[in-house]
């Protein structure tokens, strides 16, 4: 028994120790777990907002990716639209530059069509600009070639670039893929000329033509009418919602004397419509009386007051006078194929009171010698919004029109096609509109599409020999006469039927007048010359119209009708192996980028230049590539090169659309 004791004591001790160990071990485990848990928990607890932001960031990234994908999808899906190759390339290079120089803010992105085939089809010239930026902002000296190399290495996968080369100091020459160009041409033939897709159907308000009642339209109005109409057509084609407004001068003080004179000359005007044939003579007469007869002048002022207070008899008289003018204007609009809605100054009359009040309420108005004037920062001449006699001015009516177009019409783009002489006036009006908070130029585009004056061949202001302003209607008639002379010169009257001849005459006459105007940079003054515009060589409508009918005739002469062309467009691959075919193909596809540029700078002569280039490129092609091969002896058709006929067709389609935008009506034969 006593022997057993120590042994058993030891066992017991061991046993206890083991238990203790086990407990301690367990304790340690638990504590370690607790620490881990607190660590994690602490982390989560410190900033749940961080977690939230991270989640949001992940989601935004996902969405960004998704939108990019959708954009790609939309682009490739909307094959109906023509692709703007230039902006495609800009995007590709934009992405490449972004990838190569992610820290660079607003790096220059320059992509242009190459001038010579050896420099590829397009070139990207951003490397030089980036080199300068790096030097200026970071004092890094990197040669442009290196930058170009880095950009090239970062070009993302795309469907249009065949290859790129770096040339000269750092130009990146881009060669387009033949199959890409070919595919785009096929799509053009199948779907017709479709504008590049726009993000949102924006509203455009174009203010153009805008003659004065009781005065003849002159060549100055001609420019506004032609340019405005063409701009409207362009925006409409691009998918915008266009409102064409004729801001008639129909509410001035001249109506006082006109009505007073009317009352004297046709006392029963309220019941019998007065036969005013020559409104201009009527105007001159009343003006003479206004200047010479004191009594008449007084009455004229009373008439203004009564008219502005909307006295029915005076409104009637006013309407009578306006109608005479309207009829005259409409004749011209019909000739020029112009569509426009009349919304003259009188329309805004009631709003002007509120405009003055608004400027007063916001504290912009100063009273100067009885007049209410508004100074606009940056403009030395103030706007007069109310005369000392309480009357309103052009400033007031233009402000009212601006506000109405912004708030009632909800225009996203407002364009004023008015001569350059009124530049300062409009810039002041626009600045006043911004100052009072009507619009933000970053959101809404309000532009004065100014144009220069029309000069005679003597480079002086365009006048008749007697020194009078040239009446527009006379000018158009002379155009018709001259066009006919030209056609007869060319003995076209022997080839064409009388109807065809007549169609050719109007097409040439009005086409040439419009084209001559549009083909010059609108900002410059331009010399009006019938001889030049009717010349069938050079950049004229006559040349283009002639080229166009010739292209259309090619297929006809090969006995290929429209249906066969359509079928071929679906089945035939447009081979672009010949250098001239390639050049023509690329030229045709530049149409969308030309339109895009005009939508931005509103300079329509670019379109004319393009059409001229297209026509000459076509001629080059036609001179070196047989479309239809004929037996020399018999004249029998041996072979029809369908893909070339398709190129002709594509050229003609684009030209037709170009003409349409310019307001020129081509004819089948001339």
């Amino acid at each position: 028994m006593s022997l057993l004791l120590p042994f058993q004591g030891k066992v017991a001790q061991n046993y206890c120790v083991t238990i203790e160990f086990a407990f301690q071990e367990n304790e340690i485990k638990l504590l370690t777990a607790e620490i881990e848990r607190l660590k994690n928990f602490g982390c989560l607890g410190v900033s749940p907002s961080l977690e939230g932001l991270r989640d949001e960031n992940t989601k935004l990234k996902y969405r960004l990716n998704f939108l990019k994908k959708s954009l790609q999808e939309e682009r490739s899906k909307s094959t109906k639209s023509m692709i703007n190759i230039n902006s495609c390339l800009q995007e590709i290079f934009g992405a490449a530059i972004q990838a190569a120089y992610p820290d660079l803010e607003n790096p220059p992105l320059v992509v242009t069509p190459s001038q010579q085939p050896k420099f590829g089809d397009y070139q990207c010239n951003s490397a030089m600009g980036i080199s300068q930026i790096l030097l200026k902002t970071r004092e890094q000296k990197v040669i442009p070639r290196e930058i170009a190399d880095k950009i090239v290495k970062n070009i993302p996968a795309n469907e249009c670039i065949e290859k790129v080369e770096i040339a000269g100091p750092g130009f990146i020459n881009v060669h387009l893929r033949k199959d890409f160009v070919s595919k785009q041409l096929s799509s053009l033939l199948i779907n017709g000329v479709q504008p590049p897709p726009i993000a949102k159907r924006k509203k455009v308000v174009v203010d153009f033509s805008s003659p004065n009642i009781a005065k003849e339209m002159h060549v100055g109005h001609l420019r506004s009418t032609i340019i405005g109409e063409s701009m409207c057509r362009l925006f409409e084609f691009a998918g915008y919602d266009v409102l064409r407004l004729n801001h008639l001068g129909d509410w001035g003080t001249q109506f006082g004397m006109l009505i007073a004179h009317l009352q004297d000359k046709f006392p029963d005007y309220l019941t019998v419509s007065p036969p005013i044939g020559d409104l201009q003579a009527f105007y001159k007469e009343s003006k003479r009386r206004f200047d010479t007869e004191e009594e008449f002048k007084k009455r004229a002022y009373q008439c203004v007051v009564l008219l502005q207070s909307r006295n029915p008899d005076f409104i009637k008289a006013w309407n009578l006078i306006c109608d005479v003018s309207r009829r005259e204007f409409q004749k011209i609009y019909n000739c020029l194929d112009v569509t426009i809605i009349e919304r003259g100054e009188s329309f805004y009359h009631e709003m002007m009171k509120d405009i003055v009040k608004e400027f007063e309420d916001k504290g912009f108005v100063q009273v100067d010698d009885g007049r209410k004037i508004v100074f606009v920062p940056g403009f030395p001449v103030p706007l007069t919004i109310m005369k000392s006699d309480g009357g309103y001015t052009y400033d007031t009516s233009d402000l009212a029109a601006l506000k109405h177009r912004l708030f009632e019409e909800k225009g996203d783009i407002l364009i004023y096609v008015v001569d350059s002489g009124q530049s300062v006036h409009f810039q002041t009006i626009f600045a006043a509109g911004q100052m009072i908070g009507w619009y933000d130029p970053k959101v809404t585009r309000v532009a004065h599409a100014a144009f220069g004056v029309v000069l005679g061949e003597d480079k002086k202001k365009f006048k008749t020999r007697s020194g009078d302003t040239v009446r527009l209607i006379d000018l158009l008639e002379e155009g018709l006469k001259r066009a006919m002379d030209k056609l007869k010169d060319k003995e076209r009257d022997k080839v064409l039927t009388p109807e065809e001849l007549k169609a050719a005459q109007t097409s040439v006459a009005f086409g040439c007048i419009k084209y001559a105007d549009l083909s010059h940079n609108r900002l410059n003054d331009y010399v009006f010359s019938f001889d030049k515009m009717l010349d069938d060589r050079g950049n004229t409508a006559a040349y283009l119209l002639y080229a166009f009918t010739r292209i259309r005739a090619i297929a006809r002469l090969a006995n290929i009708d429209e249906q066969m062309l359509r079928k071929a467009a679906r089945e035939e691959v447009l081979v672009l192996d010949h250098e001239k075919e390639w050049k023509l193909g690329k030229c045709i596809l530049r149409f969308p980028e030309i339109l895009q540029k005009i939508l931005e700078d509103l300079l329509l002569h670019t379109l004319c230049d393009y059409l001229y280039e297209l026509a000459t490129t076509f001629t080059e092609f036609y001179d070196s590539c047989y479309c239809v091969e004929k037996d020399r002896q018999t004249g029998q058709i041996v072979k029809v090169n369908m893909w070339r006929l398709l190129l002709c067709e594509a050229t003609a389609t684009v030209m037709a659309k170009g003409f349409d935008i310019l307001g020129i009506k081509p004819v089948q034969r001339m």
Binding site: G9, Q13, Y15, E34, Y62, R63, N65, K69
Partner: protein, 609 residues
């Protein structure tokens, strides 16, 4: 022994109304090679204490599902179901449906792969797979993975594993996302038919009672088509646009949402979509695509029955029949994913498969045999009434199965060393013990018997009156035998005893378990995790379920001893440790240190009922 066997017969169970007979061998004396007392003393105990609405007879699940009780329609006779909407196209569609299925019953188990399956799902699995099986049909396992935010790979595999663990083999494993393209095409069609529109009401606006009707309800079809396209392209932010169906649901809810924008990649479709269909839109159409005959779902979906029929008919596609059954709830636990996450986060349980939980993985880990779970489901029945069950019913089912399945072994949780001073052999004896005492044909295992053995400390009492212990091997220890005892830390730490052949001694009052030359092991004993029946019920537990945790829900015995016969057991192997309960090998077991979970005690703790 013969008498005992007699009593253990299943025939005996028949007489016990309403329930299993759990027969517990309370004490069991092992056999020795020596001619020892063979007849174990058996205490027979029966139990049956539940109050749930279970019908008078417990039929097997298959019997129930085969039975007449179910008023389910025959395949192709969908129109015979009350409330089924018949359109001019219905008959043609049903004909087509029969041609495709050949008249086979088709069901599906459609879990959302956003959490672990729990005991409630076991009913759905049993019902769907069971009904198909009972009628010679097939059952799909379809992951309802329309919500990309919640899905994780681990859930997909875990769900499949659990279905198979319960003994079912899906006819095909499909995903709602397999049908995203088809669902999208149908959405376009629904818009074209004027039955759906793009809406810009915010979630907050259409929540709650009587939300204002959508001002976009009557927008032109073309507009909706364009806007839906914009949704698909990512042009709308989350919540800025939804596609809604033009119908009023049973509960008055107007125009349920069919598609919503989510800038989240999907587990299976990657970044293909940023719009995802809702349950309301997806479910019936997936059923239609798979030509499900009986779309079984829990009663909460009754309110969506009309939208189910409406949508299939709005698109003129085959329309299955939705049947609802009562949900299975269990007391003293929580099953929602969110709550379990809280439990895991706060350390109240170790993980999703902590054996105190009632997820299926937890039940498996605790040692519940799948048969027990299936039987449990069968007992709950497929009635429409919602069944809220006490966990002890599930435990009873487990005992029933484990009694048949778990071989015997002995373990000692709180060892007290006993030295037999008059041990008759120079070295350890080997004793053959039957795996199942009631049935010798199921084999024997060897247990060493040595001079040193260990018994439960609680089986020894110093005070004579209380002391009713018997040493094993039928060696009776009279009170006089306790000649020596030692004290350490105020407790008895070792005994020295003598042994006597059982036939030579007076009849022992009881038998106790023991181990000799044992393995050390860890044993985890579990109690309920929560103190109250409905820990989620604020009137019962105002402090929230986390305040209701039972502090004694887990007791870990670090230095338990188990007989060496279990040495080669694998995780999830099950044993009945004599007198202690049914145990299962935990996957935490390592070489040299086995871990056992107690699944259930041998008999129901009267305190729990």
């Amino acid at each position: 022994m013969g008498e005992a066997r007699n009593q253990l017969r299943w025939a005996d169970g028949k007489t016990i109304k309403n329930e299993v007979d759990l027969q517990v061998l309370h004490l069991l004396g092992p056999k020795t090679e020596a001619d020892l007392e063979k007849k174990p003393k058996v205490r027979l105990e029966t139990w049956m204490v539940f109050s749930c609405d279970m019908g008078t007879e417990t039929q097997s699940l298959l019997e129930q599902l085969r039975g007449e009780a179910l008023k389910f329609h025959k395949p192709g006779e969908n129109y015979k179901t009350e409330g089924y909407v018949v359109t001019p196209n219905t008959m043609a569609l049903l004909k087509q449906h029969l041609a495709i299925t050949g008249g086979q019953v088709r069901t599906r188990f459609p879990p959302e792969p956003n959490g672990i399956l729990h005991i409630g799902h076991a009913k759905a699995i049993n019902f769907n797979f069971g009904y198909a099986k009972a009628n010679g049909g097939v059952c799909f396992l379809r992951y309802d993975d329309t919500n990309p935010e919640k899905e994780e790979e681990k859930y997909f595999t875990a769900i499949r594993e659990m279905v198979e663990w319960l003994g079912y083999q899906p006819y095909a494993v499909t995903h709602a996302s397999d049908y995203f393209d088809q669902l999208y095409t149908w959405a376009l069609e629904l818009i074209r038919r004027g039955q759906a529109y793009v809406c810009h009401q915010r979630v907050e606006e259409i929540k709650g009672h009587n939300p204002p009707p959508s001002p976009w309800r009557d927008r032109p079809v073309e507009e909706s088509l364009l806007l839906f396209e914009d949704m698909r392209k990512g042009k709308f932010g989350e919540g800025e646009a939804t596609l809604r169906m033009k119908l009023v649901m049973e509960d008055g809810k107007m125009d349920p949402v069919a598609y919503r924008v989510k800038f989240t990649p999907h587990h299976r479709t990657g970044d293909k979509w940023c719009i995802y269909p809702t349950y309301d839109y997806t479910h019936c159409l997936c059923d239609s695509i798979e030509h499900i005959t009986h779309s079984l779902c829990t009663k909460e979906f009754q309110a969506r029955r009309s939208s189910y029929f409406w949508l299939c008919n709005a698109l003129d596609v085959y329309c299955p029949v939705q049947w609802e059954y009562g949900r299975l709830n269990l007391l003293y636990t929580v099953v929602s994913k969110r709550k379990i996450i809280r439990l895991v986060e706060t350390g109240a349980v170790r993980d999703w498969d902590d054996p105190r939980l009632f997820t299926l993985t937890a039940l498996r880990r605790r040692g519940f045999p799948p048969e027990a779970i299936n039987n449990f489901c069968a007992r709950v029945g497929v009635t429409v009434a919602q069944a809220t069950m006490e966990p002890h019913l599930l435990e009873a089912c487990a005992r029933e199965v484990l009694n048949e399945q778990a071989p015997r072994a002995m373990a000692v949780l709180e060892p007290l060393k006993v030295t037999i001073t008059n041990f008759p052999a120079p070295k350890a004896l080997e004793i053959l013990v039957p795996n199942f005492p009631a049935d010798d044909s199921r084999g024997f295992h060897k247990v060493p018997f040595h001079q040193t053995i260990y018994i439960e400390e609680t089986d020894f009492r110093e005070v004579r009156q209380d002391y009713t212990a018997l040493t094993p091997g039928a060696t009776a220890c009279a009170a006089e035998a306790w000649q020596h005892w030692k004290r350490c830390c105020g407790r008895v730490i070792e005994l020295e005893v003598t042994c006597t052949k059982s036939d030579a001694a007076e009849k022992p009052k009881a038998f106790i378990h023991w181990v000799s030359e044992p393995l050390a092991c860890e044993v985890r004993l579990y109690e309920r995790l929560f103190l109250h029946k409905n820990p989620e019920d604020p009137s019962e537990v105002p402090g929230g379920f986390l305040s209701d945790l039972n502090p004694d829900s887990l007791r870990v015995v670090h230095n338990a001893l188990v007989d060496s016969s279990v040495r080669s057991a694998r995780p999830f192997d099950k044993f009945q440790f004599e007198r202690l309960g049914y145990f299962s090998v935990d996957p935490d077991s390592k070489e040299g240190k086995m871990v056992f979970n107690r699944t259930v005690t041998l008999k129901e703790d009267p305190g729990k009922a």
